[in-house]
Symmetry: C2
């Protein structure tokens, strides 16, 4: 253990990590993880694989990528589930999702960014500016996108390549998006010096679809009366899916699926007590951040579905595997990503429909709008979603959260009141 | 006077205005206007025309539009300088810019919108929700756009028609924007039942271009050593241009131009003392809001140029009048609006170039980044602009403002320090 820690310190040092600040970051992440996750009494045993992935994200995974790059491998940082992994992988480029989930890092962004932008953006750049992101120098460049004002302008400021995500879903928007996907392919090919072939793309489409299928299966167990995995752990699995090597993740997810099947057949629940079944809706929760999920589940509610970017939005849709030509595959990829129901679309009827469909499927009794502070898109759209929920008689509670821990008990008061409301079958929308 | 007031109360009542709340709003607007504008000692006499326009915006102008609509005229509310007025006018539809500038109205938006979105959006909807916007029922519908997250999602929530503004300036973005301009034409024609003809469009292009030319001339006087019009008054003129009937505005602007020529020839300054020449850059200042301009100029700085949407961004570019076919005119209109250098573009190099060009042209010694609170786009882009300013040796000061008056003296402390910095010729960027 001592040796391995020493090795990582050597590696971190080589890749420009500020060791003292990084120690602070890691101590904070460990403490938060213990606090938010390890109180759970009935976790699947194979969650240890994902606990390990969490801790490996600044250690073993970094070493893997460093080794890959030492052999000439190329990699890019990404910040959004719109970036088509399949194309990067087929060009021989490893995409590394870099959205920050560390509350510790947030204030470190202040030397460049305004304080009143979302904690996700601030955490991401706080880690970069404080030289505590081990991936900072383990990438050739970063690929942003235009999903929200704060991210869009941050990429501009830092001179990142950025993909234009259209804001409507008309035919010309699909054309624009296809041209962006093609541009991305060109950039990936230029970086690796390797052309994307139909064979390589078919292979990466299958690989990434398999990851999505496994995530779908894991999350499908949450439809049961006694979900064998908690919302907190399902979130951790998604967070790990974004960091781990795809094949390693798929192997771990397969182990978890087998265990969940076993638990399901025996009626083993992840929860020690029954509690209202709720849907988590809204902003993403990058690895390191699970405050809202934690407060909700430790207050006796059960998050049985999560429609966010670190939930179903990440794995709901597969790329059509029926295409055989390269052109058709690229088109299928464009279609798949164009169907993402992000709040950046105006209007965003697909999200309304998708959420409405989840309510009976997961027997949702209430919705938690989990909004990152200053995330205007999901914050305002929560009100539009409430119209859909209200029509279905499903109450909601909006929790606007930053990455700080100080307000957990304030949030808990509201969550407990919401639990009481759901327990008596109330239909009043509180969002 | 009594009669006219009584008449307006009758009119307001007929169009659904809440008279008690509207009295509060008007008292607040009058008080703020007196506070921000009437301390100035050397205003052009013809500014009285624009002071009147300010007060008429809830009175005479409302009566004009009510009379126009009573005769079957159509009108739409707009919230952004991207909406092509020329096309609406040529279709026989009156566009009414409705961005709110009232601090009083901001909190009235809370029943629907989050509190941490920009005061412009909250003021706009606060006036609507409190039934103090006299234009609420004097329009057939509202036309939004996708320029920022808060506005985009607000239009969705309220079910507004909205135009998609692209986020990059590539060829396909221009195609997308042209298709949106065409869609807007279709909507306007459908509303009025009148097809846009080449003749009508050529006429409205000339009319609106003439407004822009007058605004350009008025603002051109600010290049002089002794600007004959203050930044505060130039802002008021722009605000009036957005509310007044175009021909009435052009007539008033013509009177002002003649007076400014006279003042310029005699070296009459709008300022009683010389002070550092600064550029105002950033978010718009809708009618009713002039806090930042007020604090800056009452602290002894002279705002000699304003690149915001209520400054040059509104009138810098003309529509090419060389086109003769309807199709070419529509294309020329699309080009003109596509050249707007809003922070919604990624990257927004045109704005960097435009600001760089203003620095020598107006002999700018410092830049005030006037940012509306939670306006992520201009807030983050201020940092990108600072790189341009730094290269030119021009310091900047960022002022993030809401519509409240409580922090004026706090802001003044910072502005006065900035004035001292400029006075000693310091080149330190403080933004």
């Amino acid at each position: 253990m001592q040796d391995s820690t020493t090795d990582f310190r050597k590696l971190w040092s080589e890749i420009g990590v500020d060791l003292d600040l990084h120690d602070q970051l890691m101590a904070g992440l460990d403490r938060v993880f213990t606090h938010t996750h390890l109180w759970q009494k009935d976790r699947p045993a194979s969650m240890s694989l994902f606990d390990k992935a969490f801790h490996d994200s600044h250690a073993g995974r970094v070493a893997e990528i460093a080794a890959y790059r030492a052999k000439g491998g190329k990699s890019v940082g990404t910040f959004c589930i719109y970036v088509p992994d399949e194309i990067a992988l087929a060009a021989g480029v490893l995409p590394i999702p870099l959205c920050g989930g560390s509350g510790w890092a947030v204030d470190h962004a202040d030397r460049m960014f305004p304080r009143d932008i979302c904690p996700l953006v601030r955490s991401t750049f706080g880690m970069s500016f404080s030289n505590t992101c081990p991936y900072k120098k383990l990438k050739d460049f970063a690929v942003g996108e235009t999903t929200c004002d704060a991210k869009k302008k941050a990429w501009d400021l830092l001179g990142f390549l950025s993909l234009e995500i259209p804001q409507k879903k008309n035919i010309i928007d699909r054309q624009l998006w296809l041209s962006e996907v093609e541009r991305f392919r060109g950039e990936m090919e230029k970086l690796s010096g390797r052309a994307v072939t139909a064979e390589a793309l078919a292979s990466s489409i299958r690989l990434v679809n398999n990851k999505r299928r496994l995530l779908q299966r894991i999350n499908g167990f949450r439809k049961l009366d006694e979900p064998p995995i908690s919302g907190l752990d399902a979130l951790l699995v998604s967070q790990a899916a974004l960091n781990m090597d795809v094949e390693a993740f798929n192997a771990a997810a397969g182990v978890l699926v087998a265990e969940l099947e076993e638990r399901a057949s025996k009626g083993v629940s992840a929860y020690s007590m029954p509690g209202p079944r709720v849907l988590f809706a809204g902003s993403p929760s990058p690895m390191g951040f699970a405050k809202t999920h934690y407060v909700v589940e430790s207050s006796g509610l059960r998050i049985v579905a999560d429609e966010s970017c670190t939930g179903m939005r990440y794995f709901r849709d597969l790329v059509d595997e029926g295409a055989s030509s390269l052109e058709d595959m690229i088109s299928a990829i464009a279609d798949r990503y164009f169907s993402i129901d992000c709040a950046c679309f105006s209007p965003n009827m697909e999200r309304m429909d998708n959420v409405a469909a989840l309510l009976p499927e997961y027997r949702v009794q209430g919705v938690i709008h989990g909004i990152l502070q200053y995330c205007h898109g999901y914050d305002i759209e929560a009100k539009a979603l409430d119209k859909v929920l209200s029509a279905a008689g499903v109450p909601s509670l909006k929790i606007v959260a930053d990455y700080g821990e100080q307000d957990e008990e304030q949030i808990r008061v509201r969550v407990e009141a919401f639990r009481e409301l759901l327990a008596v079958g109330g239909g009043i929308t509180t969002g």
